[in-house]
């Protein structure tokens, strides 16, 4: 396990330039815990602070790279986690990225065109399939979630993004500046890669 301070530094590799509240939202710490942890990280030189926002330093990255193998030794040697990650990469990750693409782009006469969200039944079908894939993700990642609460937190945040997308807030599928399904998924993917020490596959 990472200590609370390392956990906030780690969160800054998933979201660059974030406030203590935003970090707490990712790690599941309370705002006060995150602030205290970030203050310690700033004192250690692993994080720099500027006008209420925090950024990781090169020293912070180096410290994490040293800390990961020990912090996640149990997880990395667990065959169930390894199998879960294989399934994640080959299955639900591909499905989420391809559904997000279908969400952004539709075909008109064979040509890709930006989805104007004018067809609620098209959008509805994608959101419905996303819902099923997210349900399946929770199942696939069970072995990871059991050992790492932050992964479970990602699964919950994905559910919240989906709920907002279901309510017609179309930004919440693939928007970049909000915690959309894709934003949270991208963060979770990076989190899982760092946790397990895997390379990003393509």
């Amino acid at each position: 396990m990472l200590d609370p301070s390392q956990l906030t530094v780690h969160a800054l590799t998933l979201r660059q330039l974030a406030s203590a509240d935003q970090i707490a939202d990712i790690t599941g710490q309370t705002a006060a815990e995150a602030e205290a942890a970030l203050d310690k990280a700033v004192a250690d030189g692993t994080v720099i602070a500027a006008r209420g926002s925090f950024m990781i330093t090169p020293a912070g990255r180096a410290q994490l790279d040293t800390a990961y193998p020990e912090a996640f030794a149990g997880l990395r040697s667990d065959p169930a986690v390894n199998a879960a990650m294989d399934s994640f990469e080959a299955g639900v990750n591909q499905q989420v990225l391809s559904l997000t693409t279908d969400w952004q782009t539709i075909k008109v006469d064979g040509q890709p065109v930006t989805n104007d969200h004018g067809d609620p039944s098209y959008d509805g079908k994608i959101i419905d399939r996303l819902g099923r894939v997210l349900d399946k993700t929770a199942t696939v990642l069970n072995p990871v979630t059991a050992a790492d609460p932050m992964t479970g937190r990602f699964v919950d945040r994905l559910g919240l993004a989906l709920t907002r997308a279901e309510g017609g807030e179309t930004d919440y599928v693939s928007g970049v500046r909000v915690d959309s399904v894709h934003t949270v998924w991208f963060q979770m993917h990076e989190h899982l890669l760092r946790l397990t020490g895997r390379e990003r596959p393509q």
Binding site: Q16, Q104, V113, T114, L160, E190
Partner: protein, 581 residues
Amino acid sequence: MSVSAGFRWLVVPGQADTEPSRDLVGGKAWSLWRMRSLGLRVPPAFVITTKACAAYFANGALPDGLAEELAVGIGLLEAELDRSFGAGPRPLLVSVRSGAAVSMPGMMDTILDLGCNDEVERALAAESGDAAFAAEVHRRFAAFYGRLVLGSTENLEDHPDTATVRAAITADTGRDIPTDPGQQLRAAVGAVFGSSRSRRALAYRRHYGIPEDLGTAVTVQAMVFGNLDDDSGTGVLFTRSPVDGARVPYGEYLPRGQGEDVVSGRVTPKPIELLAQRAPAVHAELMTAAERLDRHGRDAQDIEFTVQHGQLYLLQSRPAKRTARAAVRIALALVDEGLITPAEAIRRVSADQVRTLLRPVIAPGADTGAVLAASGTAASPGVAAGVAVSTPEEAQDEPGSVLVRATTSPDDVHGMIAAVAVVTEQGGATSHAAVVSRALDTPCVTGCGPGTVDALTGQLITVDGASGRIYAGQLPTTAVDETRDEDLRRLTAWAQAGSPVTVAGSAADAPEPVFDADAIPPGQLGEDLPAIPPGTRTVTGALFTAPDGVRAAVAAGVEVIVAPHRLPVLLAAVACTERTP
């Protein structure tokens, strides 16, 4: 079929009936009623009301009398189509769909082909002369039923035949599909009711403050088949061209085809003119229906239809997908035809669509003789030129650069926001880099191969995200001029009239104080938008040309947004005035 009297739990949306209550029958059945009330033929249907759903939850089981009414309802469909539920020689199959008064995600979607069993499969094979089709109907039904009614989480759609689907369901759930079609129907209705309180449906309602006990109606509709004989077929019809918006019906027809054939691309359909030659009366009826749906829907429609034994059935009509150019043309045509007002027209075209139209393309002929520096997958359209940099920090520090990475991680998002284009060595059209670039409307080419970063860094390059090509140097581009295009000019005038802010092409007469987002050092910008200082009257900068920037400016009460292209900003501002999720 206007026999709706005498039912306690059912409504039959007949042609002559008065408008049914949406609360009672749900949105889907209501739109069936609407099609019927326009004099259009839809496959016969009946609805189990939301009252029955409430009773189901009160009882923990289907309410008394519902089973009998379902049998009577099925009898009506049998009589209208002269087919039999669960038996040959002409078997009746039905679809079962959920439908609440307000959109409610998380509920069970559609079960098709309900009423199938071994005997029905044989009858359908004999009737259609196509054993493979009958087997496919049975297999698909089994997969639907297993997933939606029996709750199997296996990938049932991947199994080759009914026997293996059933074996997978039994292995997963310990249950099997009943052969009695009446029993199938009752279980499906119960499953639809139950799904209205699924975990996701409840989460959605809690978030949006919709009463948690709001139930659903269930629509049961006869399936029609386009592959029964030479007088059968299936097709789609667009009331206007989805490519350029021209007021000419455009469609495809597949004789002896079933709906899935056209959608799957397994078979190439013929132009709709074939139907005019083969069955002029059916074609004429379809054209009349299309005209009525277009006018009544006040928008270009995409209509799915099936011809069964020479009889036309309309399956679905919805607003058609369209290119950006067609969206503009159709909105203006609808105003000129007196169907919508200019105030509505500016809500029919999105800022994104206009941005697409105004996107520069490489000038004709400019690519001949140009040096191809790299190429990959066209992942996000648009053309941009800049110096290639290899880290997100450089992309932020040097505005106007092209970010070139082996692959992208969340660490790169700031650099991607700052860059004019994104190039990666690895990944395809569905990689994270592609998804983020499309969301940012930034040109992107992925999968250019190992060594691309080293080869391009430091060079001036032109990225064409539509073709996936990257050229050395800066190639000339051309773009549509919004002030010279007649359609865009009219739309701009209407949009300015309906916009809460003025959008100016230059800062010349803009009222002070002015807030310039481009003056903020990029390193200080996160994923969040910068705060607009109180009292600001004018904003300018690239951030305020994107929809979220426009939303922030409108929320801050600024008077003027300065943007080189006015129309997309105006449309985004107009869209802010109606957003009340």
